[in-house]
Structures are given as structure tokens and as C-alpha cells.
Symmetry: C2
């Protein structure tokens, strides 16, 4: 394996002192890019794009080539695991994900089993290997999964939901069945993430898109406990113990302390969280990733530059006791975003964050 | 005016020590009730129901008659003000509110003016008067409004939104125009709430349904500042200064301290907030209202009873320094809820909350 040319993202996640703030953007390979829309059209549908390693590689590389971001993220979907479990994922533009065979009975839950990551989800591992080869050490590759709660929500609701009454109904009325479901999903996630690491991803992220719809008490028991299992499993395995893990619960601002307690390396912050406040609460324990409002990417370049500076200033000076900051949006970039705004964002962070790294001794582990 | 038979809700909001926890439920007059669906069918459509004082009164009374709740809330919609401004509200079942004439230009914003509350919104005031007469002092009547940010969001988006990119685009790109819009809406809200009080409501609630989609910095400037104007205007007017005001920002858990700083009397909590934590933060300054997950009302009676107890225990003993607690759900009751569960909820709170009121000397101002 070649030595990495830009390992700023990984050094930051290891808590090392760095020369500037790294940046990547959730959904950076996506519909706002004309070159993505071109490949997407070629593929025919979204799932074919995910399941064709060469095409997944092509779109993964697009934002790296165009903007020079500091990390690449595997192009895939959070719902690959339930699809591999036989729920038949359908992804239609404008409608969102739908399962042809949602989980609607306890009998179905007891029939679910952990997919074989290299067999049933081999297309993901193939994509990782192709992308790693294509990246050739330019920047690290991030692998990811949906959180158990988020996957279970989609599996039971059969699609997105406004009120989550099906999954919450299961949780409130048949908590044991809900836990059985969450456990098989968690076991699947652990196996899936380990296989991603074996295939070549250098960092991991867990997207808990729907944890924020829970009460604090239910979040602990039905979402966080399973993310804890994932972190513990990864940190106790020789192969994965040094791979940084970032947890992101949308709407999880109130729970940062307990999320940091899992032993993860970083926390994703949505845009509603005040990053200065988050830093004061957990910034000495975990790297913070985020958190500009994604809607800004649909406005003008000046607004993007101004608000990116507000996030950098919000985190402020990187002191010795601070774990660090990775710039990102507070949620995925939207289809309406202007590619020029992404350019402005990357330039702002890469060109103006040095001033916030003056207080710390920089550890250069590379070059 | 007759002496009030059950003024527990008002005594609680005045910070008096009471004998048990009062309960009302957001959207307590709603589709989960068969008798509501009957009147709704009779009316033809939702807006006709709102605009016909006798029918609005009938559905307002239904949950009071059936369950013996401790407060009635005016049956109306949060979007009456923009409708009166000429945006033409259409409310269709399953689709949600839509404006035929959304605000899509700065020129439109500058043409907006404050509706006359007794003229353009006279049907609301008529409903208040009819309901007060019908209530005949049984329980207090709550009036309400949408928050300026929430109303402006609907006005600019033209409907609900997933990403709020239109209103946020205005906020980020033309903040002055956004403030002009928010100001005319705020002036309208103040005039509207004063007219509701003049007509007879005995308590007020501001629903900030969409404040939670903002960053902390933007929430302060674009939502909270205008709710502050409303509270200040009401508290400095002889007619309204003693009318309790409750603010509710869905997703506003992180901002309870600054919401309490407005000088409001109570804060609504959504179900994601830990009520014990909220009490520790602001319970000595404001009454807390909430906050059971509304999805529980779609499950079984035992689940409802158990979780209602968890909320009561979460607030815990009412000490002398605690302002108090009003039981409610963390958001509106859903159409799928079972009426029997509402009965179980009311019985649980009215029959089991006395044990949490033992530490405080009860001030009986009535009977």
C-alpha cells in the first residue's frame, strides 16, 4: 500500500495536533453534481449504481477530483443490510427508500439472520477494493452503516415515516421482539463493518438518522446501547481496534456526553447544535465533526464563506486538551446545492482554518 | 362571570402549590375521536369547522365532556393569520396545510399588513365567546397562535417542508426581508392574542412547530427574538399581563434556559426532552408542560399508564422552589390514538399525581 498523500483526516481522528481543519461533506457524491447525475442516468437506477463497483467508484471519486476534499466516503446506501436480509429495497427518486417486504410480524423478526458480508454484500466490499485502488493513497476512505435503530425503523415502517408509529408500537408493546430485531441488525452491522475494514476502509461512521425521534430514556435503551455494542466490538478486535469510529445521531445534541461514553473517536453534530457548547461538553474526549446548516449550500458563495467561518470560529482555537474538529455540514448536502458553493466551502476551510491551529504543537506523522 | 369550578390549570401556571397535576392534551379535539369525525364530516372541510363558531365550540367541548380534562383549548388552526393576510389557506386531510398564494418575493412581503383581529379574524373571537359561554366556568380556555418563525415558514414554503430551503434561503440571503416578514407576523400575532384575551381566553400558548430546524444562533435571531416580543407585549399590557403564556418549540430542548429568559410562565417540552433534566435546568423559573411520546396513545392502556407514571416520576416531588408541572403529550395526539387510552391517561394523572404534591403547602384559591 502506498503511503498516504493526505492523511489529515485520520491524524485528526487520532487526536493528533494538525496544521489545519480537514473537510469532507456528507453526501458529497450526490445529485447536486452534474457528473453524478450523468453516471446515475447511465446506471438506470440508484441501487444499480450502488451494486456496480466501478460505477460506485466513479461517483465516489468525483467530489475528490473536483474539490480536493480531505476524505472520500464509500458510495453506498445505509439500507444495504436489510436488503441483503431479503426485504427488497427499492429506491425511487423523490419518494425515498421503500422495502417491498417490510417486517410486520414477530414471526418475521425471528426468521431474520445475519447476512454474509462477503457473499450477500460482496458488491460493497468489491466497491471498497476498487475505490481504494483508484484513490491510490490520495485521501482516506470512510466506510459506513446505518445505526441499528435507524435500520430497524426502516425495516418495520417499510419506508421513511413522520411519526414512526409502527417501530415505536413494537418498541412499546413488544420490547423483547424489538430487542431481538435490534440484536440481529447489530450483529449484521458489526460483521458488515469488519468486512469493510478488511476490504480497505480506513475510518467508519455510524449514521443514526432516526435516533432523534426517541425520548432520552428510549434512546439509551433502543439506539445508544446497540451503537455501544458496535463500538465495543470494533475496539476489541485486533483488525479494527485502530480504525476511528464516528457516531452521528441526527437530533442527538442533548446526548453528546453519553455518546462520547461509548468510546467512539468522534461525534457528528447536526446544525442545530452550537459547536462551541458541544466542544465545552465533550471536546476533550472526542473529535467533533460538523456542522454548518446544509441549506446554506443552496444560497450564495458569500453566505457559504461567512457561515463556514462562523463554524470554525465556533470551535475556536485548538488547544492541547481539545481532541479536534473535522469540518462537515450538519446533514447531507441537498440536490439543490450549487457545486460552486462546495468549491467556496472547501477553499474557506482549507485556506482559513490554519489560524485556529496556532496554539497546539503540530504532530506531523507523514511527509 | 361564574366562579371557576376547576381552576387547577391556572393555579399551576401562576406557580401556586396545587393538590395534583393538571392534564390537557395537544390536539385533544381531533380525529382520534369518533364524535369529532362526525362533526368534521358535517362541516364538510376543516376550515369551515374552524370558521363556524358553533361547530368549533362543539368539538372544543367533546374531550372535556368525555374525559374531564383540566383545560379546554380553542379549536382553530395555527395558520389563521396568514389566511387572513390573503394567502388563502387550504387544509386537506393527509396532505397538510397549503397556501394558494405563498409569499415568494420581497415585493409580496412589503405588501403584507396586520389583519384586524376582530374583523378579519372575527370568527375566532366569536368561537372564543361561544366556547366560554358553553364552558360556563368548568375549566379554563386556552387560546393560541403559531410562532412568527413557524407562520413565516409556512407562508414562504407554501406548505410543510422537509428542508425549509425557501424560508432559510430568504433568511440567509435576504435577512432584512426575512425580518420585515417576521415583524409583520409578530405584530399580527400580538394583536391576535390580545383580541383572544379580550374575547375570553384565560391562558395563551405559542406553538413554535419549526423553531427546531434552526441552528442555535439562527433560532435566537429568527424565532426566539420574536417570541420575546410577544411575551413582552403581553406582559406590559394591563389587559393581558396576568394571562399565563406558555412557549413550545418542538426540538427546543437545548434552548430551555433562553426560552425561560423571555419571561414566559411555562414551557412546553417535546417527548425527546428528559423532564427531570429540564426541571433541574429551569424548573424553578417556569412551569413545565409535557411530555409523553404521543405514539404511546396508539398502543395499549397498560403502556399508557406505565409511561404516564414515568413522566410524573420524572418531574418528581413538587418542592417549594419548583414552579410546577402540567401533564401533556410531547406533541399532538395522533389520529390513530385510541380514545380508551386517553381515558387511561387522564385517570392515571388525575388519580396518581397527588403523591408528588406532598412536599408543598397547597394554596387553595378556589372553593
Amino acid at each position: 500500500m502506498n503511503k498516504m498523500k493526505n492523511d489529515l483526516y485520520l491524524r485528526t481522528l487520532r487526536g493528533e495536533k494538525v496544521e489545519r481543519t480537514p473537510i469532507w461533506v456528507m453526501r458529497q457524491a450526490g445529485r447536486y453534481l452534474p457528473e453524478y447525475r450523468e453516471v446515475r442516468k447511465q446506471a438506470g437506477d440508484f441501487l444499480t449504481l450502488c451494486k456496480t463497483p466501478e460505477l460506485a467508484c466513479e461517483v465516489t471519486m468525483q467530489p475528490i477530483d473536483r474539490f480536493g476534499l480531505d476524505a472520500a466516503i464509500l458510495f453506498s446506501d445505509i439500507l444495504t443490510i436489510p436488503d441483503a436480509m431479503g426485504l427488497e429495497l427499492v429506491l425511487e427518486e423523490g419518494i425515498g427508500p421503500v422495502f417491498n417486504k417490510p417486517v410486520r410480524s414477530e414471526a418475521q423478526i425471528h426468521k431474520l439472520s445475519v447476512p454474509d458480508a462477503e457473499d450477500d454484500l460482496g458488491y460493497v466490499m468489491d466497491a471498497v477494493r476498487v475505490i481504494r485502488k483508484e484513490l491510490d493513497g490520495r485521501v482516506p476512505l470512510i466506510g459506513f452503516t446505518g445505526s441499528p435503530w435507524t435500520l430497524a425503523s426502516y425495516m418495520v415502517e417499510g419506508s421513511g415515516s413522520k411519526d414512526f408509529r409502527r417501530i415505536k408500537g413494537l418498541m412499546f408493546e413488544s420490547p423483547q421482539a424489538a430487542h431481538t430485531l435490534l440484536q440481529v441488525v447489530t450483529d449484521s452491522v458489526i460483521s458488515y463493518l469488519k468486512a469493510q475494514v478488511a476490504a480497505g476502509v480506513q475510518s467508519l461512521m455510524v449514521f443514526d438518522t432516526w435516533g432523534g425521534v426517541l425520548s432520552t430514556a428510549d434512546y439509551k435503551v433502543f439506539s445508544l446501547a446497540y451503537m455501544q455494542q458496535i463500538v465495543s466490538a470494533l475496539k476489541s478486535d485486533e483488525m479494527t481496534k485502530d480504525i476511528p469510529v464516528v457516531l452521528f445521531t441526527k437530533g442527538g445534541g442533548p446526548w453528546l456526553e453519553m455518546m462520547a461514553d461509548t468510546g467512539c473517536d468522534g461525534l457528528g453534530l447536526d446544525w442545530t447544535v452550537d459547536i462551541a457548547d458541544a466542544k465545552a461538553r465533550v471536546g476533550d474526549r472526542v473529535v467533533l465533526q460538523g456542522n454548518m446548516d446544509p441549506v446554506l449550500m443552496n444560497t450564495g458563495q458569500q453566505q457559504v464563506r461567512d457561515h463556514a467561518m462562523l463554524v470554525l470560529e465556533g470551535y475556536g482555537q485548538h488547544e492541547q486538551s481539545d481532541k479536534g474538529h473535522i469540518f462537515n455540514l450538519g446533514h447531507g448536502i441537498q440536490p439543490f446545492a450549487h457545486p460552486d458553493n462546495m468549491q467556496a466551502l472547501v477553499e474557506t476551510v482549507q485556506g482559513n482554518s490554519q489560524q485556529f491551529h496556532k496554539q497546539a504543537d503540530v504532530t506531523q506523522t507523514n511527509d
